[in-house]
Symmetry: D4
Subunit: 149 residues, 8 copies
C-alpha cells in the first residue's frame, strides 16, 4: 500500500520538510502546492501576461495554482492541512473543505491557540495534530501498524 499524501497550508516554516524527512522510509508519495510565495503570487501574469488591476493579477495566479492543487488533492488518500500562527490562511481552510467534500482522510495540524477557531475544520478530520512529528507517526502507524517508541 502506497499512501498518497497532499500537504496543504502554511508555507513559512519547514513543516513539510520535517514530515517528508520523518517519513522517508515509508511508502508515501507526497505532493504539495508551489511553496515559493512570490512565484505563487505572480505565476499567472508571468506566464499569461500582465494585468493592470491587482484583482485580476491575483486571480490569474490563483487559477494557475488551482491546476496543481486540484490534481494534488484529487490524487491524495490523505490531505494534511497546516494552519500557522499568522495570516488568514483561507486557502488552507478552503483546501480542507474541498478535500472533505471529496471524502479524503483529513489530518489537521495546528497549535492549541487555534482550536476554537478551527473547530469546524477539525470536526471534519480523522486526526488533529500539533506537531509535524505526530503526522509522521500517524503515517507510520497507518502503513505499518507500529506505534511510537
Amino acid at each position: 500500500m502506497t499512501l498518497n499524501v497532499y500537504l496543504s497550508g502554511e508555507i513559512h516554516t519547514d513543516w513539510r520538510d520535517q514530515i517528508m524527512k520523518g517519513a522517508a522510509e515509508l511508502d508515501v508519495a507526497f505532493d504539495c502546492p508551489v511553496t515559493d510565495h512570490a512565484a505563487s503570487d505572480d505565476c499567472g501574469v508571468a506566464i499569461l501576461g500582465a494585468e493592470d488591476n491587482k484583482y485580476w493579477h491575483d486571480h490569474k495566479g490563483a487559477m494557475v495554482n488551482a491546476i496543481r492543487t486540484r490534481k494534488g488533492i484529487a490524487d491524495a488518500d490523505v490531505v494534511v492541512v497546516r494552519f500557522g500562527d499568522q495570516y488568514k490562511q483561507w486557502n488552507a481552510a478552503f483546501d480542507a473543505g474541498y478535500a472533505a467534500a471529496l471524502g479524503k482522510s483529513l489530518i489537521i495540524l495546528h497549535g492549541p491557540d487555534h482550536a476554537h477557531a478551527l473547530k469546524e475544520v477539525d470536526a471534519a478530520a480523522l486526526a488533529v495534530a500539533q506537531e509535524p512529528a505526530q503526522v509522521v507517526e500517524i503515517l507510520r502507524y497507518v502503513l505499518t501498524g507500529a506505534l511510537p517508541q
Copy 2:
C-alpha cells in the same frame, strides 16, 4: 425555476437579512447555519452532555452543526459565503471549499481589503461581490434576466 441558496459565513452583521429581504419577491429558498453564536458553540454539550475538556466541548458542537451545514450545502444550487472584517472565519472558507468540490455555484462576498487573502477562494467563485445588494441583483438576474435599474 426555484433557486436554493445557502448563506454561509459571517454572523455578526445583518447581511443575510438584507439579502433575504431584497430577494423577497424572487423564487428563492434560502437556508443558512444557526447564527446564534452562543447556541452554535454550546449545542453539542447542551444536548449530548457536558465535557470537561474545551476541545471536545467545541467538537461536539461543531459536529451537531455539521448536520445542518451539510444538508444546507448539499441542497443548494448557489452557495454565498461572506467574509467579514474580523475573526479567522475558517469555517466560511471551509464551506466554500466544500461547496466548490460539490460543483455548487459560489458567490463570495467580502470587502476589497480581503481580496488578496481570498484570491484562491474567489478563484473558485462565479461571482465576487462587495455588497449584499449585489447578491440580490445576481439572484434577480439569474431568475428573471432583469438587470439593476
Copy 3:
C-alpha cells in the same frame, strides 16, 4: 427545510415512537424498516414461495427488506441507528456503514456499555446519543436553532 430521517436498528423497544412523537411539530419526514419481526423474517417466502433450506428462506426475506432499506437510506439526510442491549444487531451496523459511505449524517444511539464495541461506528457519526429524547433535541436544534430548556 424538511429533514428526511431514517430510523434504523433495534426493534424491540419503542424508541422510534418516542422520537416521532417528540418531533411531531418539527418539519421531519421519518422512515424506517418494517419493524414487525415475524413479517420481516418471513416476507420473502410468504410472497415469493417457500424454501426448504432455512438459509434461502432468510435470504429471500433479507433481499425483499433491502428494497425498503435502500430506499429509506438513499432518501435520508440523517440516519439514526440504535443499538439495543441484546442481540448481534449486525444489520444495524451494516446500515450505519452503508449510510456513512453515502455521506449521510449519522446519529448513533446506544447505552454507555456499548461505547467501546461501537467505537468505529461512533467515529463515523456526527452525534452519539444515549436517549431518544436527545435525538429529538438534535433534530429540533438542526431545524430551528433552539436548544433544550
Copy 4:
C-alpha cells in the same frame, strides 16, 4: 488482472494468513486493518496525546484507524469480511455496509450459527463462505477459471 482484496473483521484467529498463504501464487494484492488489538485500541492517544475520558481515548484511536480502513476498502475490488464466534464485531458489519454502498464485491465468511443474524449482511454479498480455504478457491476461480480439484 490483479485483484485488490481487503480482509476485514475478526482478528483473533489466523484466517488472514490462511487466505494469504493459500493465494500466494495468485495475482492478488491483499490489504487489511492493523490486527494488533492493543495497538489498534491505543494508537490515537499514543500518537496524539492522552485523554482522561475513555470515550475520547477510543474515539481518537478509531479515527486514526479509519485512515487505513477507508483507503483499504476504497482501493479494493473485493472485500472479505469475517465474523468470528465471539464479540459484537460491529466494526466488521460496518465495513461490510460501507463496502456494499461503494459497490465492492463482498465475500462474507462465517460459521453456520451466525447465518440468521447475518442474513442482511449476507444478502449484500456475492459469496458466503464458511472456511478461509473457500475464499482462496473463489479468488483462484475468479482469476484463473480453475475449480477446486
Copy 5:
C-alpha cells in the same frame, strides 16, 4: 414514502395493467416505456424523417425511445423487468443491466423455464417473481409492512 417503479420488458401481455391495478391503493408512481409496438418501432422516422436503410430506421427509433427509458430508469427506486415466453427481449436484459449499474432495486419477473438462462440477471435482483401479483405483494409489503393474507 412514494415508491417510483419502472416497468420494463415484455409488451405482449397485460402484466403492467395487473400490477398497476393491484397496486392502485398504494403510494406508487409507475412509469414504463411506450408499449405500442408499431409506434415504438417507427417513432424515429415518423418524427425525424424516413430512412432507406432499415438499420438506421430502427436506430432512430431506438434513440428516441431511449429518451423515455433513461428518464424512467433514472427516476425509479424499483425497476421491474419482465421476460415473456417469446422473442429475444434483449432490450429487457439491457434495461436490467443498466438499472443494476445505477444501483436500482431490481425485481425480475419470469416463468420457471427461463430460470437458467436468466441466472445472471436474477443474481442482480432483490426479488425474482413468477406472477405480477407477487410484484404487487412486494410493493405492498415494502410500503406498508403487510404480508399477503
Copy 6:
C-alpha cells in the same frame, strides 16, 4: 412524468417560443438561458462593477450567466441545443458537451448545412432535428406515446 427540458443555443430566432407553444399542453417544464443579448453580455459589470478591460468585462458576465446555465442543465432530463446559421455559437457546443458528460438526453437542432461540422455533437445526441416542430413531436411521443398525425 414531468420532463425537464433545457433549451440552449441560438438566440436570434423564435425557436424557443415555437417549442414552448407547441408543447403547451404537455407535462414539460422548460428552462433556458437569458436570451436578451445585451443583458447577457453586460450582466457582470452592471451588477459587480465596470472593467476597463473588455476581456474581464466579458468574463464577469459569462460567470454570472453560468449560474443559470449550470442550474438549468443540471436539473434537465433533456437538453435541446440549437445551432443557427450565423455566428460561432461555441457556447452552444460547450453546453452540448457539458450536458453529454452529465448523461443528459441531448436533442440537437440544426439545418442540413451544418451536418458535417456538427457530426461530433450529433453523435452524442439521441435525436437530431431540423425544425422546432420536430422537437415538439419528440416531447409529445416521449410523454404520451403519440406519433404525429
Copy 7:
C-alpha cells in the same frame, strides 16, 4: 495509452481469440469472463457447497461469476459484447446495459439477422460490427490512427 478492453458475450466460437491475436501488437489489455461453460455453471456449488434446488445452484454460480464480471467491466475503457446465433444470451445484453450505464464505450458485435432485435443495444454503442476483424481494426485505429489497408 493502454486500452482496457472487456470481451463479453457469446462463448461458443473463437471470436475472443481472433480479436486477441489480431490485436497482439497493440497496446491493449484484454479481460473476459470465464468461458468454460461447465465451470461457469458449477463454480458456486463446487466451491461453496451443493444445493438441492437448481435455482440456488445457478444463483451461487452467477454470483461468483459476477465478482469477475464486475471487475472486468469496471476496469474497462471499451466493452465489446458479442451476440451469437443461438441461445438467449441475456447475460450479454445485461452486461451491455451495465457497461452503458457506467459510461463505457460499447462495441456490439453481431450478424445482420439480429439487427432489429438488438436495436436498443446497438443504440447505446459507439460501433456495431459484424466481424471480429472489424473490432481489431477499431482498436488499431483508436490507438494508432491507422485505417485498414
Copy 8:
C-alpha cells in the same frame, strides 16, 4: 507527479508538436485525437462498411472517434483546447464542455479575436493562453514551480 494532458481542438497547425517538444523534459503524458483529417472523417465507413447517406457516413466516423476522445478526456488531469482561426470547430467547444462537466482543469488556447465569442468557454477554464509556449510554461510551473526566465 505525472500530469496527463489531453490536447483537443484545431488540427491544421503544429501547436501540439510545439507543446510536446517544449514539454519534452517534463513529467507529462500527452494524448490527443487522431489528427489525420481524412482518416478521422472516414474511419467509420472504412472499418464498418460504406453508407450511401453522407449523414450516416459522418456519424459512424464520429462515433468511432468518440472511443478515443472519451478515453483521452476521462484519463486527463488537464485538457487543453485550441481554437484556430478557421472553421466552426464545434467539436473543440464540445470537448471543452465535456471536460468541464467532468471537473478537468481546462486550458483554452486562442487568439485575441476570438475572445468575445469564446467567453463562456474561457469562463470555465483555469487558464486562457494565446500561444502554445504559454501552455508549456503553465505545465512547467505546475510540475516544478519554475516561472519563465
